[in-house]
Symmetry: C2
Subunit: 347 residues, 2 copies
């Protein structure tokens, strides 16, 4: 096996920093500096090196980076193990921001508490990462001292934490906006609440915050929400279908329904259509999340800036990784009411 002939193609042995250096006629240190955006490189040199990297398809080996530099340029993202589009969008945002800073991410689905603890303590995993982004759960509060047993920086997203930086949505505000909107339409108001035990391992509070804000705004307007106007279900479209059935037993159309999540709102719409009721007139439905498909289904919703929140979280983490000190910072985001056919008479 003479290794005289280079095989820099996407084959078994990838090109190394030495290959790049040689081909570009510079030293390995210079290549490293280019990779790490060090300012101490002349623009022409940088361009030349980058061209060679491109040509050779060079990608720095993260394991080597980790071992040499102490950092892996990788962050772990801990996310609930539920299949919703929300997390897809959130990751989109996180990844966009991390990518610009040449960071990678490793996903860690939160399947069980046991697994989480193994992840955090036993260091044997592939998750030897520089920092953590935790989505949707305030994991910190379930550990003694209110802090995760790790010395790496942590940022919360879609959740607020006292102990760590966080980027979160004002869910209660969303509930209040929902109340205002539905009240303006006139007619009785109902709500679909969602069980917090998302995946029977961890509990989130977003849904109760949404319904809480809703209830509060209604009360302030002098229209309290009766208990039987609230239906609780697990997170599924079918739960929304059942909810509307119940509501129709109590009340003849027209009626207004606020669902704490778009998926559930979709079920309400499905059930209405199946019952031959006109959505937007006889049954008005307002969801929450702003999932992409709500536009084509004509579903009114409270849109949250998911990608933006993801980016914000990633940015905060990177700043911490670069040494920023100081008390936890919190970025608050607001949902935006998007009115579509499902809460508008006719088209």
């Amino acid at each position: 096996m003479g290794n005289g002939s280079k095989t820099p193609k996407n084959g078994r042995n990838a090109p190394t920093i030495a290959d790049v250096a040689e081909r570009a006629g510079v030293g390995i240190g210079t290549v490293s500096r280019v990779i790490n955006n060090s300012p101490a490189v002349r623009p022409e040199t940088r361009a030349k090196v980058q061209a060679v990297m491109e040509e050779l398809g060079y990608v720095p080996n993260p394991h080597a980076r980790r071992i040499a530099g102490g950092r892996s340029y990788t962050v772990s993202v801990l996310l609930p193990f539920v299949g919703t589009e929300f997390y897809l969008r959130l990751l989109e945002g996180i990844e966009a921001e991390l990518g610009e800073q040449r960071y990678d991410l490793a996903l860690f689905p939160l399947l069980s508490k046991q697994r989480l603890e193994r992840f955090l303590s036993s260091s044997a995993l592939a998750y030897h990462t520089d920092g953590l982004i935790v989505a949707s759960y305030d994991l910190a509060e379930r550990f003694p001292g209110g802090r995760l047993p790790t010395d790496r920086p942590v940022v919360m997203v879609d959740a607020r934490s006292e102990a760590y930086d966080s980027a979160y949505l004002d869910n209660a505000l969303g509930g209040r906006l929902a109340a205002e909107h539905l009240l303006a339409l006139g007619g009785p108001v109902f709500a679909v609440q969602i069980e917090e035990e998302l995946d029977r391992a961890f509990a989130s509070t977003v849904f109760s915050a949404r319904i809480g804000g809703f209830r509060e705004a209604l009360a302030q307007a002098g229209v309290p929400l009766p208990e039987d106007h609230v239906f609780r279900t697990r997170l599924s479209a079918e739960g929304g279908q059942i909810a509307l059935q119940r509501f129709l037993e109590l009340q003849r159309p027209p009626l207004n329904v606020f669902a704490a999540a778009d998926v559930v709102a979709l079920g309400v719409v499905e059930a209405a259509e199946r019952s031959g009721l006109e959505v937007g007139r006889e049954v008005r439905v307002l969801g929450f999340d702003g999932q992409p498909w709500t536009a084509t289904r004509g579903l009114s919703t409270l849109e949250q800036p998911v990608e933006t929140m993801g980016r914000a979280a990633a940015r905060m983490l990177i700043e911490r990784l670069q040494g920023t000190k100081g008390p936890p910072r919190h970025e608050r985001f607001e949902p935006r009411l998007v009115v579509r056919a499902s809460t508008q008479i006719g088209s």
Copy 2:
């Protein structure tokens, strides 16, 4: 900051192989051989080294292993992004087997096709692992040539693939067993089928195989299954609730329901209880999966040896990693009927 005093505790700087070697009075090569179960170590030496490793809390750095040895002793597990207990159990099995061989795993939730392709091609991730275990989807068939674009070994679990080793359950057999059992009870038979688009990114075939076997066995017994005796829903307990509602519109109790998944069967049970019907007599319910909680809920089910399948998949992968050649091997597993109160008259 004199570093004269060692801090081998679980602090910032973990002990290295050199620390262990020094403390044990051996060379680093010997320590490495102990770590890797090389036979060329005297038992007493091995014991001594292991004692020191224990004492120091030494864990080999996977990045260093990867860089030095070419392997990372880590395998990726690709799994659908749905929050079911099935995957928890599957991972339990996989992890048990891998752990015995000193391998770690990195989870990769299959959120979208786009993300999968990035994972497989762009090598920049932390997922520089030695092999892949793919759960539930025959991902291979969606790539040109019917093979994943990777040269690392691949094993399928809970799915069968022509191109790769696989450990899978005979779902059709489960359906047939279900049919036999329900027929023996007497009375009309219904089925709840589940949408294959588990998480709207990838499609699985397990549910249609289950219902397929069910239908086939019924037909053979001369009791074909009418179309309106099959209700389709997404995977959720509420879907089961709605299904029973529909069935009760067509048929007065007693009736028998086979649900293609335990979660859905649970919904059927819930709906029956809410309607004041006696489960096991007026409504008989049979699930599929053998989730741990079925025991306490008295739900009859087709139990699958999930952990065992996971172990089998991991074992096959490790063998491949150790150089085993040859055509794809397939391990077939069979579900086992567990009869409980939900398909038994009285207690």
